[in-house]
Symmetry: C2
Subunit: 316 residues, 2 copies
């Protein structure tokens, strides 16, 4: 059965019913089915809004991922942006563009993936849009709330800040490389660091924050860009998944490359003042592993240079 057999309203009905099965949600005054959704934030909260799109053959391929994984990844990308701002999710909208010949089975898979992540992270589907098109795309807008004036931003880094990252990097890129070679389909989807982001909004000595979506190197540039600062990274300190080097070697891949430029890790990359808590204390508070991987320095001034000269450091 294809999308065209169901029609727009049949499809909306199908999505509504699937979303309702998850039960009512705190903070949602009015969900799917009206001209717009109505949400409620606390009196001392700011709103956080982020929009992301996943386009067929650009961001995903039906041949290398199940529809369920595509749906999950779409929401995780948006939730990770909320995490990077320190926000708690309130709800999300989804605009689906799809060819009329798309199978209902594929659609249901995407929808199940979306709603599974939605339930896991208490971020209900509150509205959206359906349209036909030549290729499939999913555009998600996630709405969150954060304590007034407490949103984490990319612009809080200072000279001498410690650079930290949650979890590990490169694992998603390795999975993806395996999938591209036809060795396996993508199975793992990282978990957005929502709890860790919220904990960081309460941390004294917090600097700038971003989520690692383009890859560590690229996102570190985004983090330092506004301040015109540079950084020194300790390559050996960049956390990687278990048995990462061996698994990369088997495919002839450079583990450093994957950890630094892989992307879609959805870990939080942030800076801390020198006097902020140690990573051990931080790991406990955030509930996730935290590694210290470098220092913020002055770009090109030499002040941010390597300390060991063995090539184990990267300069930006």
């Amino acid at each position: 059965m294809q999308l065209r057999d169901l029609g727009e309203f049949g499809l909306i009905d199908r999505i509504e019913r699937a979303a309702r099965r998850l039960g009512p949600s705190r903070g949602v005054v009015l969900g799917i089915g009206d001209d717009a959704a109505v949400l409620r934030v606390g009196p001392r909260e700011d709103l956080v809004v982020t929009t992301d799109a996943l386009v067929e053959d650009v961001h995903f391929r039906w041949s290398s991922e199940s529809p369920r994984i595509v749906g999950r990844r779409a929401l995780v990308a948006s939730l990770s942006d909320l995490a990077a701002m320190g926000a708690r999710p309130l709800g999300f909208t989804c605009a689906l563009v799809a060819p009329p010949a798309l199978s209902l089975r594929t659609l249901d898979g995407v929808l199940n993936g979306l709603l599974r992540e939605a339930q896991t992270h208490s971020c209900p589907l509150v509205g959206g849009n359906l349209s036909r098109g030549r290729e499939t795309s999913l555009t998600l807008t996630a709405i969150g709330a954060v304590g007034r004036g407490r949103a984490l931003t990319r612009s809080g880094a200072r000279f001498g800040d410690r650079i930290c990252v949650t979890g590990s990097l490169g694992g998603v890129a390795l999975d993806r490389a395996r999938a591209e070679r036809g060795l396996a389909r993508v199975r793992r989807v990282p978990s957005p660091r929502l709890g860790a982001g919220r904990a960081l909004t309460r941390l004294r000595g917090m600097g700038a924050c971003i989520d690692v979506s383009d890859g560590l190197e690229a996102d570190l540039q985004h983090l330092l860009g506004p301040s015109a600062m540079g950084a020194t990274l300790d390559l050996a300190a960049v956390p990687r998944p278990p048995r990462f080097a061996a698994r990369c070697a088997r495919l002839g891949l450079d583990p450093d490359r994957l950890a630094l430029a892989g992307g879609e890790d959805y870990e939080l990359l942030f800076t801390l003042r020198r006097w902020a808590p140690s990573v051990a204390v931080l790991s406990r508070r955030l509930g996730v592993p935290v590694a210290e991987i470098g220092r913020v320095g002055v770009a090109g001034s030499g002040r941010g240079r390597s300390r060991d000269g063995k090539g184990g450091w990267r300069h930006f």
Copy 2:
């Protein structure tokens, strides 16, 4: 020059600069350029969120509309949804999917159209997403605020309610018919009824509300659907633009058809209790013409039937 010559970051920079030229906006704590935007609502307000997509060759054609009109229409569709909820706009995000060969001139036109409407209605662009794709699409999410618990909804109609509509219907459909015949390009874009929507949230005797986007008949069905009620419409009372019948006749079009099913009028269609103010009083308060066009009745029961029997009434 084409999109591919500019690259993603060049393009983001271009959009950021255009958006910044409009100046700072009240309610926007953090705009374009971070992982997400940060907005602020009042302590006694609810959030309103709506997502709409415009897809090339489905919702617009470059041959019959200027890029500027496409941009304007995209935002107007979203703002009209906010109007139908009685909300004031806070800001919007835009996800643009476009082929790399799209000309920069076209992109700039769309952007100018979007930002012109954004400025007119104090609804700043606060974020978005860019991606390549086979066809152009614009997915907009508009965020608004409304007094807590005061959002207008589709579900407030009661038996005996008067059915009213703002402005006039059919004008956009006529323009579109002319454009499809190659007689003229679409030039007019309706104005979303934001002020009228806000005034309706303060009205005693207010029933249900929706914006006319699919056409009067279809949207009236949406309005009555949840209540399983019917309605009687006085065809002659449905407001139309000046010289509408004559202009339709010249193209061999049925003016009733266009007024009832044209769509994209973006007027507000709403119901009022019998004892609510007269349309004359209402027009003054809302600042737009208001016409009373029928009554809510019980579907198929005969209670909502025609009073004159001359075929000038429609039953639902």
